[in-house]
């Protein structure tokens, strides 16, 4: 129950700190794009709206996840708001898990509104919905799974380093993780020590490339059920590991 209260307060903080204002920028971007591509070509307009819309959902969300996530613990320590929380019957792991769910909840709500925007833009350019448009929901689901991993990583870094370093670490991991497939291919081609290193790195960084189905969905190619299951298990596992790391570090940290 305490986790739910911490999560709900984290969500409230994001709302009151006007994090959801990013939706305005998103709406402007999407409506501008819809109007613009509507004047270019009828054939590609849908493709552009889906590609641009989902990529924007992903990028806006990742930026929010990183920039809120990196401050979730360090800001509380720096401002000493944590003292009056942890001097109550709240366990440190409950605080971390509550913060995680609060941020994840913020991102889910944010993504929901953005998804409504994407579908509205789609309807604006094609004047109807077709069955294949439901695939967009799968892409959105994968994007939310990515957010869970990014949130957990940002929290992990936030539990031991400064906000600036945490941002650098989390963003670097996101970029490297987006090219994880290329890293694995490189590892397969390498020899000796570099092969070991590349393989280790490839499996250690989050494999975000497996979550990117935007282009195939824009071309109305179906997504295999196995991939949905695989990505779900992978995201839950990776986020749990990162979160456990954050808990472990935070459990033994002196709050000076």
């Amino acid at each position: 129950m305490r986790i739910a209260h911490i999560a709900s307060n984290t969500f409230r903080e994001a709302v009151r700190d006007r994090v959801l204002y990013n939706l305005i920028a998103f709406a402007l971007l999407l409506s501008g794009a819809a109007i613009l591509v509507g004047q270019i070509s009828i054939e590609i307009e849908k493709l552009v709206v889906i590609n641009l819309g989902l990529t924007a959902v992903s990028l806006f969300g990742v930026v929010i996840a990183i920039f809120i996530g990196i401050g979730l613990v360090s800001k509380e320590i720096e401002k000493r708001t944590l003292y009056t929380v942890l001097s109550r019957p709240v366990r440190r792991w409950e605080f971390i898990v509550g913060k995680f769910f609060g941020l994840a909840g913020t991102l889910v709500v944010n993504t929901f509104f953005m998804a409504v925007g994407v579908f509205a833009a789609l309807f604006y350019v094609s004047h109807k919905f077709v069955r294949a448009d439901a695939l967009i929901l799968v892409a959105l689901y994968f994007i939310v799974l990515q957010f869970l991993i990014v949130c957990a990583l940002a929290l992990l870094f936030s539990s031991f380093s400064s906000p600036l370093l945490s941002a650098v670490f989390a963003f670097s991991l996101f970029v490297i993780g987006s090219f994880a497939e290329d890293l694995r291919n490189f590892a397969a081609l390498a020899h000796g020590v570099s092969r070991w290193l590349a393989t280790g790195a490839a499996y250690l960084v989050p494999n975000f490339s497996a979550f990117n189905v935007i282009t195939s969905i824009a071309h109305e190619q179906p997504v295999a059920g196995q991939l949905i299951l695989q990505n779900t298990v992978y995201a839950v596992f990776y986020a749990t590991m990162a979160l456990s790391g954050a808990v472990l570090i935070f459990e033994y940290r002196d709050l000076k």
């Binding site: 307060n9 409230r12 003292y83 929380v85 019957p89 000076k256």
Partner: protein
């Protein structure tokens, strides 16, 4: 059962970026605070007061030692439901209103929903924030934040309350109100442990005090014990402007103010002075033992500690 038993808690930090070196913030501390008393934890800035409180709150981990709070291990999470804590210069979630903050802390402290609403209202009244309960904390002054801090510390009706520099940032009226509140808490049977470097606050409130300096305990005791009998002197006040020669001969330190004379004499000279006043037909007004102020005791303790440290070095 003592409210707090500190059993050799100590804390050493590692400082330095590359070559870590130990820095002892708190030497092994032995201290007992009895149930129902107001206990003052005194020391200059950087003495180790806040470190001790953080150790007891589980915010930092001890290098050695342990403690018992309300008869249980201090790390037992159930203990925390029965203690309240006001950190030094508290800062709260400034996007919340005072009402929302107390509601949130009530939830975290496990106050049942039915009682919570009533309790929040009571506490807002008690700390004088009822009129501004709907204002976001970012618009609060330092003094108002201190009141919020006190409110959150007593919200869940704890048996033991820790205040770290509770008068800091308060105007004289605010300080008076906090003093009254602490006395009220004691009257309700609660134990109050508060740290301060303002000695007049401690002198006015505390049953007992401990003095800490450079992480080491320098003295513990009841205010009366610490401040009396150090000099064994009494103050005699009589009406008039003259000091009889026989009193002067005793080597008394005399001050004339208006139509009164105050003389500081040794306790064993008391009878001789009274006889002299009778002979001169001067009206005796008062005889009171001279107490060393807590400040004098405190300064003396710190001076002695500095001298010892100097000799050791």
């Amino acid at each position: 059962m003592p409210a707090i038993e500190i059993l050799g808690l100590e804390k050493t930090y590692s400082v330095g970026f590359w070559r870590k070196r130990p820095k002892r913030a708190l030497h092994p501390l032995q201290l007992t605070v009895e149930d129902g008393e107001i206990f003052g934890f005194l020391g200059p800035n950087g003495a180790g007061k806040t470190t001790t409180l953080k150790l007891l709150m589980g915010l930092v981990f001890p290098s050695a030692g342990s403690a018992r709070i309300l008869g249980r291990e201090w790390t037992d999470p159930s203990v925390k439901a029965q203690i309240g804590f006001l950190p030094e210069q508290p800062y709260f979630y400034d996007y919340l209103t005072a009402h929302e903050l107390l509601e949130y802390y009530g939830q975290l402290s496990g106050v049942p929903a039915k009682q919570r609403k009533q309790r929040v209202e009571q506490v807002l009244d008690k700390v004088g924030l009822r009129d501004v309960q709907g204002v976001q904390l970012r618009k609060f002054s330092k003094g108002m934040l201190q009141r919020v801090g006190i409110g959150q510390a007593i919200l869940h009706d704890p048996k033991l309350v820790f205040f770290d520099e509770p008068m800091s940032g308060l105007d004289p009226m605010g300080r008076r109100e906090v003093r009254d509140l602490m006395e009220q808490l004691k009257h309700e049977g609660k134990t109050v442990f508060f740290s301060t470097h303002i000695l007049s606050d401690a002198e006015a409130l505390c049953d007992r005090v401990a003095i800490i300096h450079k992480g080491e305990l320098r003295g513990v005791g009841a205010i009366e014990d610490l401040t009396s009998s150090v000099q064994g002197k009494v103050e005699v006040v009589w009406q008039g402007t003259q000091v009889p020669a026989s009193i002067k001969a005793l080597g008394a330190e005399c001050h004339v103010t208006g139509d009164r004379v105050r003389a500081i004499i040794n306790e064993n000279q008391q009878d001789a002075v009274i006889d002299a006043l009778r002979r001169e037909r001067l009206r005796l007004i008062a005889i009171t033992p001279v107490r060393t102020s807590l400040e004098a005791y405190f300064v003396e303790k710190l001076r002695r500690a500095e001298t010892t440290a100097g000799r050791t070095a």
